[in-house]
């Protein structure tokens, strides 16, 4: 492509092997006031 460079391929995981529910509750990490998931890790990816 002449005008566009892809830095990150599609990455929002929605397949049947997701939604295990093992990841950390977002508010338990550091903030306790702002519910963010952008900075969270997938528990499966961490293993």
């Amino acid at each position: 492509m002449k005008h566009i460079q892809t830095i990150q391929k599609p990455c929002i995981k929605a397949g049947k092997n997701t939604a295990c529910g093992e990841c950390q509750a977002s508010c338990q990490s550091a903030c306790k006031t702002s519910c963010t998931v952008a900075n969270q890790k997938c528990a499966k990816e961490e293993k």
Partner: protein, 441 residues
């Protein structure tokens, strides 16, 4: 849905529904901005031949599932709804009197009291019974100030370790502390048992002391800094965060980040205070441009600092790992307040999260009668980025996951109405995080 923005020398295009990120040249940026805002791409001052090329590039992206992607459908959580995370209010009391405290300086607008071991045990039993197939569970020792009830903290951790074996679970204990009452024995225990430690320290001494005085009105900075350094020095590879708060009194919070890194800390989270508009410390719409500029300055400082191992640090809200990030279900459901996540008070009352504590209309149940209010749980479960009008068409929905529901109720007016200032700040931080990610590629 797409979102385009400029970050330093990057023209960034985010395909919201797939998470794909592209950088584009000036002509393409003008074209995608026109498309994003429903305008004619041939009417943005770019020559027709170039517009045609850009549209061809975009069509190629689209066919590859990386541009204007359809909204995906998230699978249901395996094993159904379960409680996996618990905030244990072991102390509704505190040895500080922080001026911006959401917990009314520790008592949550109630009686100052400590949780008994018996109540804590029943809370952990409830967690085990309601955790379903989840193996990883989280328990945060919270307050007020949890170190004011230290013996019970230790007893509950020991009891939790027994339960882990009995139920084949893994409990990640964490503690959120101001460090005032730390000593060597507590440091050793915390560093042995706590998966993460959140340390409340605001940055510069004058900022911290002005807003985080002791009960008798003296500054707490000098006590806390030494204790926090000692605690962190013994953490090894285990997680910790220095968690500060900024208010309208320190909109130059980059200086607080610099102070914290100067003290030797490298895991930092500085959060905006969320307070009623009439608080002298609240952040108001007129502060937003100044805060945005400060996040930009922090971003520049962050990128430079991370080029050198000696000055490297991590800022909680700039962490962004698209490939290793959470799945769609997590992005939709967010914090799980009221469903996956609950808070337990010293009296044994159960609330959707620590910030709802004391709001009687949001009490889910009690440890004596742990049949949780299904109407409330359904309301929380049904309140997500797919259902909230404000979130449905917001580009940041899969990164903020709909925002803090307690702040929505307290300052947005309803569970379904996110707090606007928090939304603004979240979007700014996400743009910075994506920009930093691009810079570090």
């Amino acid at each position: 849905m797409i979102h385009s923005f400029q970050f330093q020398n990057h023209n960034v295009l985010l395909d919201v529904e797939s998470g794909a990120i592209h950088t584009v040249d000036e002509a393409a940026f003008a074209v995608v901005s026109a498309i994003e805002h429903g305008k004619d791409p041939y009417a943005v001052g770019v020559d027709a031949q170039t517009v045609s090329e850009v549209l061809s590039d975009l069509e190629e992206l689209k066919s590859g599932g990386a541009f204007e992607t359809e909204t995906p459908t998230a699978p249901e959580i395996l094993g159904g709804s379960a409680i996996k995370s618990m905030c244990l209010h072991v102390a509704h009391d505190c040895n500080l009197r922080c001026r911006y405290c959401f917990a009314a300086t520790g008592d949550f607008h109630g009686e100052r009291m400590l949780m008994s071991y018996e109540t804590g045990k029943r809370a952990l039993d409830l967690l085990m019974e309601r955790s379903g197939t989840r193996q990883h569970l989280e328990v945060d020792l919270f307050g007020g100030e949890p170190l004011m009830n230290w013996d019970v903290c230790k007893q509950l951790v020991a009891y939790g370790r027994e339960l882990e074996k009995q139920y084949n679970k893994i409990i990640h204990f964490t503690i959120t502390t101001n460090c005032v009452a730390l000593d060597d024995e507590k440091i050793d225990f915390i560093n042995r048992e706590m998966h993460n430690v959140v340390i409340s320290l605001d940055g510069r001494k004058e900022i911290h002391d002005a807003l985080r005085p002791t009960v008798n009105g003296k500054g707490s900075f000098d006590i806390i800094l030494g204790n926090a350094k000692k605690l962190v020095a013994g953490r090894g590879e285990k997680e910790y965060y220095i968690r500060g708060t900024f208010t309208r009194e320190n909109l130059d919070f980059l200086e607080d980040v610099k102070a914290l890194t100067g003290f030797g800390f490298d895991q930092i989270s500085i959060e905006p205070a969320v307070l009623p508009d009439d608080s002298p410390y609240s952040l108001l719409p007129e502060h937003l441009a100044r805060i945005d500029a400060e996040y930009d300055a922090l971003t520049e400082h962050y990128i430079d600092a991370r080029k050198n191992a000696d000055s490297w640090y991590n800022f909680f809200h700039f962490m962004f790992d698209p490939d290793g990030g959470p799945c769609l279900r997590k992005r939709i459901n967010g914090c799980g307040a009221g469903t996956e996540y609950v808070a337990i008070t010293p009296e044994g009352d159960i609330y959707p999260c620590h910030q709802f504590v004391g709001m009687q209309e949001y009490k889910l149940g009690t440890l004596d009668q742990p049949t949780l209010r299904s109407d409330l749980q359904e309301a929380f479960l049904g309140c997500n980025v797919c259902t909230k009008d404000t979130c449905k068409n917001c580009w940041a929905k899969y990164y903020c996951s709909g925002g803090c529901m307690a702040n929505a109720v307290l300052y947005g007016g309803a569970l379904e109405t996110p707090h606007e200032i928090s939304c603004h700040l979240m979007k700014k931080r996400i743009e910075c995080a994506i920009g930093i990610y691009l810079s570090e590629q």
